[in-house]
Subunit: 105 residues, 2 copies
């Protein structure tokens, strides 16, 4: 009935690792695991839903189209309104970074 956010982490892989933890019509809760991954250099995330995101382990840098750069470590959270273009510029290369994201309308 329960599961742990820090268990079942993937072996180091080429791509970020996404798990859906809860989902309904207007909301998705997901875990993202990165290890040195960044957003595709080719572009920005431009999401139709709002996102609330927190780093639970590791460290990452999110940059915005206007040049703002935000470093997130354990417990740091951030709200990203829909259609606010952003990317993950960096995650710590030598350990897993575990993000929890809530996407909502």
């Amino acid at each position: 009935m329960t599961a742990n956010l820090f268990n079942n982490l993937p072996e180091p892989v080429q791509e970020e690792w996404f798990n859906t933890l809860a989902e309904a019509e207007h909301v998705t809760v997901e875990r993202i695991v990165s290890r040195g991954h960044t957003s595709p250099a080719s572009g920005w995330y431009d999401q139709s839903r709002h996102e609330w995101v927190v780093v639970l382990k590791g460290r990452g840098v999110v940059t915005f189209e206007d040049g703002e750069e935000v470093t997130l470590g354990p417990g740091d959270h951030l709200s990203i309104p829909a259609h606010t273009r952003h990317r993950v510029a960096w995650t710590v290369p030598d350990e897993d970074t575990v993000w929890l994201a809530v996407h909502y309308d």
Copy 2:
């Protein structure tokens, strides 16, 4: 623009401490800080929304009306469907327990 889930913890207080971190029509993300608190002994939580909850720090026990008892430590998460009667039977008395809850339709 960012805030940290482990900062601005309350001084030990009589009641649990709730902060809304993100909110929209169909979803609320909140932080709950407990220190030895339990649900009111008089009754059950009977919520109109679904809840996804994770313990980030500390330890707590959630019990359900059917007798099931679930102990949650850091990273442990649980989905509680709407109208599933439950209560917090125990939280560790000597440190803060930090919960993150997503309530959604």
